[in-house]
């Protein structure tokens, strides 16, 4: 089925151009979809970079972010370099994240285009240029490579990320195995040539691309080679996948535990390089709604904001369209709990709490939804605390920010003392001290039935 017109797979994700980071190794994987557990792939990369293969860390799977932060928390990582991301708002368990990022023993460098919430915790802030202030390419999730050329100079001391990284590499005096500079190029065009060589013959082959070819049109889809100078519109034609043991980018993981599949296991499982479809039995979430926490809490996006609002929170129209966090409740739950549109609710989970204005929407009964964009500080308002349990989805190495693990998050209704019995009741909520940002609508005690847990 797949590989024919009308039968393609295309992911819809929040960061289509994050495709670049997946290809080039910025996610912690090896560049060009090379497999860390395949010595041949590591050897190839070592040749491209002209370094000893042992110099390329490949003794284990890439260390995912939550693991890196745990190391920082425990003190075995003392230097952290954050570029173009805002973990002090985006991650689960924000109190914990902010406290570990604020540690005296951790030297934190943050490189961003704005003074983000994370940058405010940094020891050193490196102001960076944004698109339009630098030249480079973007690749979208459909593999289309675009050239984005510099139009204006960056403001103040801001510099393109590439310039900052190159400066850093020079100061570290990174060398290849002949004593030459490990990073031999010094501008975007040179970096692109370096990436073309690194990606050559791999799944994301850029070798046939050039800035010249990308100029003027609307982009070219990789793989782009001398044989296919116009790129490749469709992958997996005739059911051909790059999943043969010697070719695949990963041997995969156990869906339940996240443990990497061993190379020999993969060879036995998929000697002919077919597509692999995996199944796992249903496992209940680690936490499910109970008397104390009768709701599922899920998070997601709003159309007006992107991630932690670093940019769009500064656009007045978007900011006015959705200025503050809210919580969505189903009509039935709102009726049964005696809540109405605009009420200010305090939502508590075992890990944190947040105050949010109520919106009655079509969300499922027993489920609360809140957008994940709103952090504290930065002049952007909001009173949210990271609520998620920072338990990793081991197979995907995604923290639990989506409804994939919605049942980990519950609304709290303490203390359950009503005559209706604890399972089905929202008891009276103690009145809280009214914070300055919601003086107009003080929180109110809540009486009424909660959905069965």
């Amino acid at each position: 089925m797949i590989g024919r017109p009308g039968c393609g797979l295309l992911q819809m994700n929040g960061q289509p151009s994050a495709e670049n980071t997946r290809e080039c190794g910025a996610d912690g994987d090896l560049p060009g979809f090379r497999n860390w557990a395949n010595d041949q792939h590591v050897q190839e990369l070592a040749e491209v970079w002209n370094v000893d293969p042992a110099h390329i860390p490949h003794h284990g799977p890439p260390t995912h972010l939550m693991q890196i932060l745990r190391y920082a928390e425990q003190g075995s990582i003392r230097f952290l370099y954050v570029s173009g991301t805002n973990p002090a708002v985006s991650l689960p368990e924000l109190r914990r994240i902010r406290s570990l990022l604020s540690q005296e023993r951790l030297f934190l460098v943050v490189q961003d285009i704005f003074l983000t919430e994370t940058a405010q915790l940094a020891d050193v802030v490196l102001p960076a240029a944004t698109w339009g202030e630098k030249t480079g390419t973007f690749t979208n999730a459909d593999r289309t490579v675009h050239l984005s050329e510099k139009a204006v100079d960056p403001p103040g001391e801001a510099r393109p990320d590439l310039d900052i990284f190159l400066d850093y590499a020079r100061r570290l005096d990174l060398r290849d195995r002949d004593g030459g500079p490990l990073v031999p190029w010094s501008d975007p065009g040179g970096a692109f040539e370096g990436w073309k060589a690194c990606s050559r013959d791999g799944p994301c082959d850029y070798f046939g691309l050039s800035y010249e070819a990308l100029r003027g049109g609307s982009g070219i889809q990789w793989p782009c080679t001398d044989q296919k100078p116009a790129g490749t519109e469709r992958l997996y034609v005739d059911g051909a996948f790059r999943s043969a043991p010697e070719d695949c980018e990963s041997y995969g993981k156990d869906l339940v535990t996240g443990a990497p599949v061993e190379p020999t296991e993969y060879r036995a499982l998929n000697p002919d390089g077919k597509a692999v479809i995996k199944a796992a039995e249903y496992l209940p979430a680690h936490e499910t709604p109970a008397a104390d926490y009768p709701f599922h809490l899920i998070t997601g996006r709003t159309i007006f904001h992107f991630h932690t609002r670093t940019r769009n929170g500064r656009a007045p129209q978007l900011q006015q369209a959705a200025p503050d966090v809210w919580v969505e409740v189903s009509e039935t739950d709102a009726l049964e709990c005696g809540w109405s549109e605009g009420d200010r609710l305090r939502i508590t989970t075992p890990r944190g709490e947040v105050e949010a204005r109520l919106r009655v929407t079509g969300v499922r009964r027993g489920v609360l939804f809140r957008p994940f964009h709103y952090g504290t500080g930065g002049g952007l308002g909001g009173t949210i605390t990271g609520l998620q349990k920072s338990e990793d989805d081991l197979a995907l190495a995604l923290h639990q920010l989506s409804d994939r693990h919605a049942s980990d998050h519950e609304i709290h209704s303490p203390p359950a003392t009503s005559q209706d019995g604890p399972r089905s009741t929202c008891a009276g909520w103690p009145k809280r001290a009214t914070p300055t940002d919601c003086t107009s609508i003080p929180s109110r005690p809540i009486r009424g039935r909660c959905p069965p847990s």
Binding site: G60, S76, D254, V256, T257, G258, A259, P260
Partner: protein, 69 residues
């Protein structure tokens, strides 16, 4: 480092349990005890999965725990 010690113990314990299932399954088959055979067939893979997980965790954490302390 303590985590590594715990994982090491866990892996050894799981390896013991895995062998126990092996012995039970062999005996159950020989004795034509269908219930026990089915139980062992159900449970042994879970222990093997736990073993693989502890092994993977040790592999992932060992260098960081040992070199950075």
């Amino acid at each position: 480092m303590l985590l590594l010690v715990d994982l090491r113990e866990l892996h050894r314990a799981a390896a013991g349990v895995s062998l126990d299932w092996e012995m039970l399954a062999q005996s159950a088959q020989a004795a034509e005890d269908k219930d026990l055979t089915v139980l062992a067939a159900d449970c042994h893979p879970q222990t093997l999965r736990q073993l693989r997980w502890t092994n993977a965790q040790v592999k992932e954490l060992a260098a960081q725990a040992i070199l950075a302390t």
